[in-house]
Symmetry: C2
Subunit: 208 residues, 2 copies
């Protein structure tokens, strides 16, 4: 049993790696954005929060000490950004977007992704991504307890091949073989085990 | 391409299933809590947010329309709760905790989990869970845009077999074969593909 006093005394990186990996597997996304001056940015994120479907609202947590400030600044400046799912084969390039690049450098070029523009949406999408989502900034939440920031955005567009969407709306991500991750450096495969029927207190769930 | 007007016009459950599943794979946890009157509760959650490691802070999103109010009320009443990882074999029992049970009924009994108490921690752990985390309530954030609530808690204790923790603090969840999920009813396996070295702008990442 590890107690909070021990956690507080762990070496800084050891503690960060442990607590972050304990939070478990998460979907990996490339967030695309562009500054007012036109400098494109793409960076890997996995701390996406589903807040609701009507309206469709997702959040991203920004840590105060990360180097992902360009993404945050671009979203606040331009009110728009994209979330792009990552092909398994692109995991090294996607990880490389987490390096500290100078603000005037585009991670698209440096990491080998192609930016794609759709209609008049200001922020760039990742051309190779199998699902591309465009979002508009909706709300900023400042978490006083540790100075993290949640940016909530509303989904404007979803670009996905409809063959991956089941009759009931379920998106079969496992068929797309997209990347997930644990912590800041562990990349994962995942597969569907089983969908289960809506749970009712007097009936045991059945496969669907 | 699906546009926001179409999303707004989707049938309610279709839209919820699509947007929730699009948010991707997430770690499944059983949240254990107990009311002041001593009624135990356990419910499955997967919307866990890592806010930081020092202090170790995680959040849970509570939707306004869910039936998981017992958990929320217990946390606000007693200031403590537990997060318990789920064995793959327990996925049907874990899903069953999402059914609507009356407040005076313990989901531990109804769904076939055993409650476990450790030292003087008020909230129950799930005895069969391979990793058990005890948390104390830290902060409540009300999201005005859609009335969701984030409960932030600080990790007090971590009960894990140390053989699953790498030298650098990384927790090898894939070796424990714990459950993950997509949306509200799709349960998943996952496996580690590769850990990569810390990303630097002038060096390509290498396996670690």
């Amino acid at each position: 049993m590890i107690h909070k006093e021990q956690i507080a005394n762990f070496e800084r990186r050891y503690r960060a790696t442990m607590i972050n990996s304990l939070a478990g597997i998460r979907q990996s996304f490339l967030v695309g954005s562009k500054s007012k001056l036109g400098i494109e940015n793409v960076a890997i994120f996995s701390n996406i929060i589903h807040f609701g479907a009507n309206p469709p609202l997702w959040g991203i947590v920004f840590r105060p000490d990360t180097i992902q400030r360009d993404t945050l600044n671009n979203i606040l400046e331009t009110n728009c950004y994209t979330l792009n799912y990552i092909n398994q084969d692109d995991f090294e390039k996607a990880h490389q977007t987490s390096a500290k690049f100078e603000s005037h450098i585009s991670e698209f070029e440096s990491c080998g992704f192609e930016a794609q523009y759709v209609n008049d949406f200001f922020a760039p999408f990742v051309a190779s991504s199998p699902i591309k989502i465009g979002l508009k900034f909706a709300e900023r939440i400042d978490i006083s307890i540790n100075n993290t920031i949640i940016i909530i955005g509303q989904i404007e567009t979803i670009d996905i091949d409809s063959k991956y969407i089941s009759e009931d709306g379920f998106v079969n991500l496992h068929q797309l073989d997209v990347l997930a991750n644990i912590g800041l450096d562990a990349y994962c495969h995942f597969d569907l085990k089983q969908r289960l029927s809506y749970a009712k207190s007097n009936v045991w769930p059945t496969p669907i």
